[in-house]
C-alpha cells in the first residue's frame, strides 16, 4: 500500500516537473534565440544550418541599432509614457472599481462583471477599423493619447478583474472592525484596504505596464510616426527588401530589457502579490 502511494506521489511529481520543464522550454527558447541572434552576423544567421562559429559573433547589430538611436529613443520614450499613464490610470480607476465590485452591494454587479469579462473576448481585429475611424474623426491618430485610451480599454478590465480577486481574499473582519471604529467606506478603502494591498497592487501594475509596453497591433494601426512605440520601431528593421534579423533582435533585446529588469528587481513583491491572492482565497 505504502509503496504504491509512494510511486503515485513520485509519478504526480514527475508529471508536474515535466510539464513545467516543457513550459519553461517553450517560454525561454525564443528569448535565448533572440539574445543569441542579436550577437550574430546576418550571413551566419541566415545560413542553413546557422553558423555558430565564434567568428560569426559580433556587436555590430547593437552598434547599428544605436546609430539609428533617434528613432529607437523616440519609440522607447513613447512606449514609456504610454505604459506609465495607462498603468497609473488603470490602477487609479480600477482599484476603487474592483473594491466596489468585491465588497459593496453594487446594483447589477454580476452583469457588470460579465461585461468586463466579455471585453476580453473580442479579438482586437474586430474593433480596430471602427476604432480607427472614430479616432481619426477625433483627430487623435498618431498621438500618445489614442494609445493610452485604447490600452486602458483592455487593461482596465484586467486590472479590475485581478484586483477584485485580491480584495475578495482580504478577511472581511478588518473592514468590519474599521466600520465599527467609525470609518466610512472611502476611509476603509483608503486607510485599510489600500495599505495592506501594496503587494497585489504592485503585481497588477507590473502586469498592466508589460501589457502596454509589449502591445503591437493597435500601435501599428493607430500611429504613423511621432507616436510610434518601441515594438513598431523594432519591426521596421524588417525593411522592404531585406530583414536585418540581427539588428531587429538587438533592438528587441533592448526593448524587453526594461520589463525584464522590472520583473527581476521586484520579483519578490510580485510573487508575494499573487501568492496573497491565492492562499487567502
Amino acid at each position: 500500500m505504502a509503496g504504491r502511494s509512494r510511486v503515485g506521489a513520485w509519478l504526480a511529481r514527475s508529471t508536474v516537473i515535466i510539464g513545467l520543464a516543457v513550459f519553461t522550454f517553450l517560454a525561454v527558447v525564443p528569448l535565448l534565440w533572440m539574445l543569441l541572434s542579436s550577437f550574430m552576423q546576418q550571413q551566419a544567421l541566415t545560413a542553413t544550418p546557422p553558423d555558430f562559429a565564434p567568428a560569426s559573433f559580433t556587436l555590430d547589430n547593437y552598434v547599428q541599432v544605436f546609430s539609428s538611436a533617434a528613432a529607437l529613443g523616440r519609440g522607447f520614450l513613447n512606449s514609456f509614457i504610454v505604459a506609465l499613464f495607462t498603468t497609473a490610470v488603470a490602477l487609479a480607476i480600477g482599484a476603487p472599481a474592483a473594491y466596489a465590485l468585491a465588497r459593496l452591494s453594487v446594483p447589477g454587479a454580476n452583469p457588470i462583471l460579465m461585461m468586463i469579462l466579455a471585453t476580453q473576448m473580442f479579438p482586437g481585429i474586430v474593433i480596430v477599423i471602427p476604432l480607427f475611424i472614430v479616432m481619426s474623426r477625433l483627430d487623435l491618430i498618431d498621438t500618445q493619447l489614442v494609445l493610452i485610451i485604447v490600452y486602458l480599454s483592455f487593461n482596465l478590465p484586467i486590472v479590475i478583474w485581478i484586483l477584485r480577486g485580491f480584495f475578495l481574499a482580504i478577511p472581511p473582519g478588518l473592514e468590519r472592525a474599521a466600520a465599527v471604529d467609525g470609518a466610512t467606506v472611502a476611509q476603509v478603502f483608503r486607510l485599510i484596504v489600500l495599505p495592506i494591498s501594496v503587494a497585489p497592487l504592485f503585481a497588477t501594475a507590473v502586469f498592466a505596464f508589460i501589457e502596454s509596453w509589449n502591445e503591437f497591433f493597435f500601435a501599428l494601426i493607430l500611429t504613423r510616426q511621432s507616436a510610434q512605440t518601441a515594438p513598431l520601431v523594432i519591426s521596421q528593421f524588417a525593411g522592404q527588401y531585406q530583414t536585418v534579423f540581427g539588428q531587429m533582435m538587438a533592438a528587441a533585446t533592448l526593448a524587453i530589457a526594461p520589463v525584464v529588469l522590472l520583473a527581476v528587481i521586484f520579483r519578490n513583491r510580485i510573487m508575494q502579490g499573487f501568492a496573497d491572492g491565492m492562499v487567502k482565497g
Binding site: 468590519r176 472592525a177 466600520a179
Partner: protein, 356 residues
C-alpha cells in the same frame, strides 16, 4: 452606558432565516452572553446589534433609541472580533488610536488616551510594534484596547478567545471580567463555550435555531434548564438522560429506571404516567457507593479536583463525578444511585422539562 433591547428581530440571508424573532433585554451595565452551537444565530444577532448587518424585521434599541437605521459608529458600540481583526499595517498605538483619529481628535489627546489604555492593559512596552510581532494574548489585548479607548455605550464580543490556547483563555476571561467590573459598560458576549458563559455572565441567553431558548442567570440556566437542549448544553461533561417511567411503589411516587428508582414529588401522576419520560441528572448528583443499582465501571477520567467515572447502565452509560483523584479501575463493580433533590424530569417527545 445604555441598555439594549431587541424586539422580534429577524434576519434572513436570501431564503435562509438565521434569526427568527429574537427578543432580548440587556440592562444598563449588565454582562449578557449569547450562548449556543455554531449556526444558532448568535453571531448574526451580535452583528445586528452592532449594525454590521441590517435586521430584516423587528426593532433594535440602544439607550431607548431605535437604532435600526444607524451605522455601527453612530450606535456608539465597540466590538472585539473573533480573529482580533487588528490592522496589520498599523502599530499597536495606531491600532488603538485609529477610531480617535477618525474623529479628528488632536494628536496629544490621542496619545494621552492611547497610553492610558495601553497602561491598563499592560501594552505600554509594545506600543510601537506591529500586530504580527505580538503574542496571541497581546493581540487580544490590543483588540480590547481598541474597544475601550472609545468609551462606548456598549461592548460587543464575538467569540474573542476562540483562537487562544486554554491557559491564555482563562487569563483573558479573568481580564474581561475584571474590566467589566471596573468600567461597568453594558456588554454582550457571544460564545459557544458554556463554561465561559457561566463564569462571565450576569445573564445568559441560550440560543437555538435562530431563537432564544432560555434567558436567565447562570444559576437559573444550570439548575433549572427549560429543555433538554439547554440542559445538555450547559455543564461539562453534560448530564445524562435516563429513560424510565413514573410508578407508585410502597405508597411513594418514584421514577423507575430498570433496577433503580428515585423518589420524586409529582402532583399529577396520572397524566405523566403515560407519556415517555427521561430523568436528567448531572455527574455531581450521581452517587457511586454501596446503595442503589449494581453497575460496572467502564471508564475513569481523573481531571485533578475530581474524577469522572463512566459506568455501564441499562445498555447505555452514566457519568458520575467523584471528588479528588479516585482510585477506581475499569471493570470494578459497585452501586449507583442519584440524589433525588437534584433530578430533573423531561418529556421525551418534546424535550421540555417538567416542573416537579
Amino acid at each position: 452606558m445604555a441598555d439594549v433591547e431587541l424586539q422580534a428581530v429577524a434576519k434572513t440571508f436570501g431564503k435562509v432565516a438565521v434569526c427568527k424573532g429574537v427578543d432580548l433585554r440587556v440592562e444598563d451595565g449588565e454582562f449578557v452572553t449569547l450562548l449556543g452551537p455554531s449556526g444558532c444565530g448568535k453571531t448574526t444577532t451580535l452583528n445586528l446589534i452592532a449594525g454590521l448587518e441590517d435586521a430584516t424585521e423587528g426593532d433594535i434599541r440602544i439607550g431607548g433609541q431605535r437604532v435600526n437605521h444607524l451605522t455601527p459608529f453612530e450606535r456608539d458600540v465597540a466590538m472585539v472580533f473573533q480573529n482580533y481583526a487588528l490592522y496589520p499595517h498599523m502599530t499597536v498605538a495606531e491600532n488603538i488610536g485609529f477610531t480617535l483619529r477618525l474623529r479628528r481628535m488632536g494628536r496629544t489627546e490621542i496619545a494621552r488616551r492611547v497610553s492610558a489604555v495601553a497602561e491598563s492593559l499592560e501594552l505600554g512596552p509594545v506600543l510601537e510594534r506591529l500586530p504580527a510581532q505580538l503574542s496571541g494574548g497581546q493581540q487580544q489585548r490590543v483588540a480590547l484596547g481598541r474597544a475601550i479607548v472609545r468609551e462606548p455605550r456598549v461592548f460587543l464580543f464575538d467569540e474573542p478567545f476562540s483562537n487562544l490556547d486554554a491557559g491564555l483563555r482563562l487569563k483573558m476571561r479573568a481580564e474581561v471580567k475584571e474590566l467589566h467590573q471596573r468600567l461597568r459598560v453594558t456588554s454582550i458576549f457571544v460564545t459557544h463555550d458554556q463554561e465561559e458563559a457561566l463564569s462571565l455572565s450576569d445573564r445568559i441567553a441560550v440560543m437555538r435555531d435562530g431563537r432564544i431558548e432560555q434567558y436567565g442567570t447562570p444559576a437559573d440556566i444550570y439548575t433549572r434548564p427549560v429543555s433538554r437542549y439547554v440542559a445538555r448544553f450547559i455543564g461539562s461533561p453534560p448530564l445524562d438522560f435516563l429513560p424510565g417511567k413514573i410508578a407508585t411503589e410502597e405508597q411513594r411516587t418514584v421514577f423507575r429506571m430498570g433496577a433503580l428508582a428515585v423518589p420524586i414529588d409529582v402532583r399529577t401522576v396520572g397524566e405523566l404516567g403515560n407519556s415517555p419520560l427521561e430523568l436528567g441528572v448531572r455527574p455531581e448528583h450521581v452517587i457511586l457507593g454501596a446503595e442503589g443499582a449494581p453497575v460496572t465501571v467502564r471508564l475513569v477520567q481523573p481531571v485533578g479536583p475530581a474524577t469522572f467515572v463512566t459506568v455501564a447502565w441499562e445498555g447505555g452509560s452514566v457519568v458520575a463525578r467523584v471528588p479528588g483523584m479516585a482510585s477506581l479501575v475499569p471493570g470494578a463493580r459497585l452501586h449507583v444511585s442519584v440524589d433525588p433533590r437534584h433530578v430533573m424530569l423531561f418529556d421525551a417527545a418534546s424535550g421540555r422539562r417538567l416542573s416537579i
